[in-house]
């Protein structure tokens, strides 16, 4: 459904941020894009969404195909209209608008307004808390509720593919669990395709079908979630589990001794 080949981007015409990445998101699947801070995850999905001018980001080479069409030079609103929606990092809900107005903005691209109520009801089924808060100013809700609103706002547009940028950011572990299980249910029950960008590798791999690991603007590893969870390096560096399968003890850490084998 979404396929990226050899994407290379620069910030301010100088700083090479993505150094030729390729990835594939098949329809109906959850694909995660994992990596530490500054690996280029957000840059990747901002490039896909077309948020380039305001952050001085430029595509040097590479293709982004969505449903077989090249979208790498389209404006953000055209990309959304073609069915690709992003839930931005840090929620970015409209704090001065009510929950319902936020959902209305989310549904802006819906051609047929009569479907709005229907979509809203379906979204409220997954996020019942939002149904109780329709007239509350979004800025006054808790972080978890805001994240739910940010996801709900994307879902009312009924997109074909949703890109979630770190839905776990700044939330309590229990709330994160809840949100991830809702994302998983949405994928299974409604068949949405999801590209999940996360730092929390363990949680992301637990619900996704396939994963990519990014470091320094490159994809250094990819595989099914099963393969990745079994991989020694991933276990060591991303999941924090030592080889014996126990939790890693930080007392006898010898991090520097073990080199990541993809760094040659």
């Amino acid at each position: 459904m979404l396929s990226i080949t050899n994407l290379e981007t620069t910030y301010n015409d100088i700083v090479l941020s993505l150094k030729g990445i390729s990835l594939e998101v098949p329809a109906g699947r959850i694909v995660s894009l994992l990596g530490g801070n500054g690996a280029g995850k957000t840059t990747t999905i901002n490039t896909i969404s077309g948020i380039r001018n305001s952050v001085n980001l430029k595509i040097e080479t590479g293709n982004i195909l969505f449903d077989g069409r090249e979208i790498s030079h389209q404006e953000p609103h055209d990309i959304v209209t073609s069915g690709l929606m992003q839930v931005p990092e840090g929620r970015r809900i409209f704090a001065e608008l009510t929950v319902e107005e936020n959902l209305k903005i989310g549904s802006y691209t819906l051609k047929d307004r009569s479907h709005f109520q229907e979509h809203c009801h379906r979204v409220y089924e997954y996020f019942p808390i939002l149904a109780q808060r329709t007239n509350q100013l979004a800025g006054y809700m808790s972080g978890g509720e805001q994240q739910m609103l940010a996801i709900a706002r994307a879902l009312v547009a009924n997109p074909e593919l949703i890109m979630l940028d770190e839905p776990s950011l700044g939330l309590a572990p229990l709330v994160v669990q809840e949100i991830f299980s809702i994302i998983h249910r949405f994928n299974r029950e409604q068949g949405y395709t999801i590209l999940l960008v996360e730092q929390n590798a363990n949680l992301a791999l637990s619900i996704s079908d396939y994963g990519y690991i990014m470091e320094n603007g490159k994809i250094v590893m990819e595989g099914t979630s099963e393969e990745l969870r079994k991989d020694k390096d991933i276990r060591e560096f991303y999941l924090g589990i030592s080889e014996s399968g126990k939790r890693k003890s930080y007392r006898n850490i010898k991090h520097y001794k073990r080199r990541k084998r993809w760094l040659s």
Binding site: S49, G50, I51, N53, S54, E75, P76, H77, V80, T81, M85, Q86, P88, R92, F94, A95, E96, L97, E101, N102, K104, I105, G106, Y108, T109, R113, L137, G139, Y140, M141, S142, R153, A157
Partner: protein, 299 residues
């Protein structure tokens, strides 16, 4: 008693004009982040165009009125497309300087086209009065107040109820995220400019009917800016109330303070100073205005 009502009434009618201009400031500032110093000049252009149609070409007043606000709105769209679309992402001081330049250009062009004299609009309301309960009110003021009130109501409804209005508010708050929701941010900016110059033209025509059409009327824009600042620069309701307040206070001060002497200090004509005095006071005491909020924040 009757003088008080008279003062309040003419204050309200001047205040409606300020409110309309302030509304333009707020609409453009909220949606594009540009503080448009040419707002008063847009009023002036509206008044000149209406004068051209109604007085020189002798087109019926209502048609001339509608034509001029249509032309004013197109001018707003043109300004956005030709100038400010290219300035997105530039720092705020450069956009402000561009609006000041734009103001000079508009004044110079109007002078070239219509001359620098003082004219009056050929309007069916000018010079006529209505008596009500023994009191005499000017028709121009009544029309100004009524039309402005209707417009204020429509604007508030538009921003609370319609999808386009909500999309405009969302774009004003966070334009990148609005783009991610599928909103054409460029189009929203253009709509803000169109609405801003639309209200400016109406304000300009009413202002010209209360006095005359001349290039100097553009300075009213700066007074209206103090109304917008009083209202908080972010809030549509604030701009409306701020404008009405400035109009009322200005008229009260003109009546009661002009010629006032205190300890050997003689107050001159204070009318034109009032708005600026209020602006300075607001900026000192409550910089975010009456209705402006710093930001919605969770406590």
């Amino acid at each position: 008693m009757e003088t008080i009502i008279d003062i309040l009434f003419s204050g309200l009618s001047m205040g409606s004009v300020y409110s309309l201009i302030a509304l333009g400031f707020v609409l453009i500032f909220k949606s594009t982040g540009i503080l448009n110093f040419a707002q008063g000049e847009l009023c002036m252009v509206g008044a000149f165009v209406c004068y051209y149609f109604a007085t020189r070409l002798e087109i019926p007043y209502l048609i001339a009125f509608l034509l001029s606000i249509a032309i004013g709105s197109i001018l707003g769209a043109l300004i956005d497309v030709l100038v400010f679309r290219r300035l997105v992402g530039e720092p705020i001081h450069s956009t402000i300087l561009v609006t000041i330049g734009l103001a000079s250009i508009l004044v110079a062009l109007s002078g070239l086209i219509w001359g620098h004299d003082t004219y009056s609009i050929n309007s069916p309301f000018v010079g006529k009065t209505v008596s009500f309960g023994g009191m005499v009110f000017s028709q121009v003021s009544i029309v100004t107040i009524l039309v402005s009130l209707v417009l204020f109501g429509l604007f508030i409804l538009f921003f609370r109820r319609s999808l386009l209005g909500i999309a405009l508010m969302g774009t004003a708050e966070d334009s990148d995220t609005a783009g991610l929701m599928g909103i054409n941010v460029k189009k929203m900016r253009m709509i803000a400019w169109i609405l801003g110059s639309f209200v400016a033209c109406i304000a300009g025509i009413f202002l010209a009917e209360q006095s005359f059409v001349h290039a100097g009327m553009a300075h009213t824009g700066i007074k209206a800016m103090s109304a917008a600042i009083l209202g908080g620069m972010q809030s549509i309701g604030g701009a409306i109330i701020g404008g009405l307040l400035i109009g009322l206070v200005e008229n009260l001060a003109a009546t009661f303070l002009t010629g006032f002497e205190m300890g050997g200090f003689h107050f001159g004509d204070v009318k034109d100073v009032t708005a600026f005095a209020i602006m300075i006071l607001v900026l000192m005491i409550r910089p975010h205005g009456i209705f402006g909020k710093k930001e919605v924040e969770r406590v």
